[in-house]
Amino acid sequence: MTKLLIWYGELTTRRNLTRRGLGYLSPGMLWLLWFLILPGFVLVLVSFISRGSYGQLEWNFTIENYKRLLGFSLFGWSADYLRIILRSVIVAVVTCGICVLLAYPLAFFICGRPARNRYFWLTLVIVPFWTNMVIRTYAWLLILDPDFPLARLAALLKLIPDGSALYPSALAVYLGMVSMFLPFVVLPLYSSVERLDWSLVEAAQDLYASRWRVFSQAILPQTLPGLSVGVILTFVPTMGMFVVPDLLAGAKYMLVGNLIQQQFGQSRDWPFGAAISMGLMVLTLISLQLYRRRSKEVDIL
């Protein structure tokens, strides 16, 4: 006799549940297995073999690709690749930081609107998604064009030579990145701010807290779940982003995403590209782990 149990109001058996669960799960599982896990293994495999002189894969085990990534080559040690990786980390961290700083006021602003107007403001945040990412990035080229006010103003302030554009530059990359990822921080943060228990804010004020203390003790811990989602959704893609730096910085400000793209594209060096991808993945996981440990200090619940 099989044991009966109630599962969310339904009378059923454990066997029945298992069978049904597997039925619902298997399409997704197969999809992930075929398109994520297997290619992932291939990537690991490829990163340990070498490249033939015409770009073909040669099936002999080597760790040469990883050594090259760390800067060791026939001509001695150089920090070029490490510098690109470090730059990518900095760009990702700074982009996240700017997005968070901009997203808090935005999320509070939207939550402060009357309920019927909020969707209008949220839609404005989402509108950029209606346009292709590449086109949006090209739009920045136009905005930063020498004939447009921004570049004119910069030239007037003697920040750039007269008649030159504001790209390619680090500034252009940050502008592109932040505008690309701001909605990813605003939306989850908005959902946290919307559910904010304002009585905690009032309690903090009642207990003599300064503005900063009100934020750090009453607002931050409550919005941390949304903030974390936003930070992860921003940090991970910015680490690998190649469209924005490619168009807005050219070769001057190369990020790890461009490097990988280059290996799989022009250079036809798949093993090295795979090794960089592995490095990027490890770095991303380490960063997220660090972030989670840091945020745990604040968020105990």
Binding site: S199, L200, A204, D206, Q217, L301
Partner: protein, 367 residues
């Protein structure tokens, strides 16, 4: 800033304990002058003036939406009045933000910080004011002990029961030794038994500390149990205030008579010291200023007997008998009267009985 001494709460602690009126609690009267507040169309507080002397347990009593919580929040600095002044100990604090008022609040939802331990929750106010660590420890420990929470110090709010959370909220406010403690329906989330117990404790605590407590509640029993003085609010104004005994025994209006306890309202015309009503002619003890009007009598003040007795008596029929353990409630006709009497006697619906309305129990209402 307008001379409010924020440091006065941080005196080094005398070990004399909590006995009598603690010397480190500065005593200050609270005055409200013509406070007025509107939320759009709603006139939440309409020109309220109040004087609450230091050390008083003052209660704002009224139905929901009468403006009592708004008034409390104006005192706390969590709401800004459209007009009027809030004066604490002679200093105008009307334009002082909440975090610079020597006033603390126990919130209805308790509003404990979920990510902080009980100790840190209680220490919050002291830490905001950069109190030295040793002093924070001794003051927080003392409050936790006073409220029987010493074993909870390292726990987190969600691990505590409602009653314990309520005590933490109280400790968190009291540890700052405010000049006025505001309590916003602090017991509404507790069950009846616990509420009764905490009411008595709250009253003892207030007497012991000699601190001004201002309680907001819609529960008339609670108001009667704890208060030195009750102000009954309705539609943004204070309709009557006085000691619990005054307000209960001599309500001025129908609203107060019916809101604070139960009341039988008898309408009639006044003539020669007597009230002519459909139930009969009743002599009144109080002076009357109207020709046509209403008097009130509490259900427990009506006397019952099996035969005609004394003045102001008449015969009525029992409609309904509700047994309540400590007493029995009767509904009678004519006049839809309610009578509360001891539970020793047995009553049967349908039977007739003589009622006596003692003249001194008939309260003349102004409306």
């Amino acid at each position: 800033m307008t001379g409010v001494d924020l440091e006065s709460g941080s005196d080094p602690h005398q070990e004399s304990g909590e006995a009598a009126h603690s010397p480190n609690i500065s005593r200050a009267d609270l005055d409200l002058h013509n406070i007025d507040k509107r939320f759009g169309e709603v006139h939440a507080v309409a020109d309220v003036s109040l004087n609450i002397p230091a050390g008083e347990f003052f209660t704002l009593l009224g139905p929901s939406g009468c403006g009592k919580t708004t008034l409390l929040r104006i005192i706390a600095g969590l709401e800004v009045a459209d007009r009027g002044e809030v004066v604490l100990g002679g200093d105008k604090i009307t334009s002082l933000p909440a975090n610079r008022r020597q006033v603390n609040t126990v919130f209805q939802s308790y509003a404990l910080f979920p990510h902080l331990s009980i100790f840190e929750n209680v220490a919050f106010g002291l830490r905001s004011r950069k109190t030295p660590q040793a002093e924070v420890r001794s003051r927080v420990d003392r409050r936790l002990e006073m409220l029987g929470l010493q074993t909870m110090a390292n726990r987190y709010p969600h691990e505590l029961s409602g009653g314990q959370q309520q005590r933490v909220a109280l400790a968190r406010a009291l540890v700052n030794e405010p000049q006025v403690l505001l309590l916003d329906e602090p017991m509404s989330a507790l069950d009846a038994k616990l509420r009764a117990q905490i009411q008595v404790e709250l009253r003892r605590l207030q007497r012991k500390l000699g601190m001004t407590f201002i309680l907001v509640t819609h529960d008339q029993d609670e108001a009667l149990v704890v208060s030195d003085r009750i102000a009954v609010m309705r539609r943004g104004t204070i309709v009557q205030s006085g000691s619990p005994k005054d307000v209960y025994e001599t309500p001025h209006t129908r609203f107060v008579a019916e809101f604070l306890g139960a009341a039988n309202l008898i309408a009639g015309g006044y003539q020669d010291g007597c009230l002519e009503t459909e139930l009969g002619r009743f002599r009144l003890a109080q002076p009357v200023s109207w020709q046509e009007g209403t008097v009130a009598i509490r259900p427990e003040r009506i006397r019952l007997s099996s035969k005609p007795a004394g003045e102001n008596s008449f015969k009525a029929q029992i409609q309904e008998v509700i047994y309540r353990g400590t007493n029995v409630d009767l509904s009678l006709e004519p006049g839809q009267l309610r009578v509360r009497t001891g539970a020793e006697e047995t009553f049967e619906p349908g039977k007739s009985i003589w009622l006596e309305l003692p003249p001194e129990a008939l309260v003349v209402l102004n409306d």
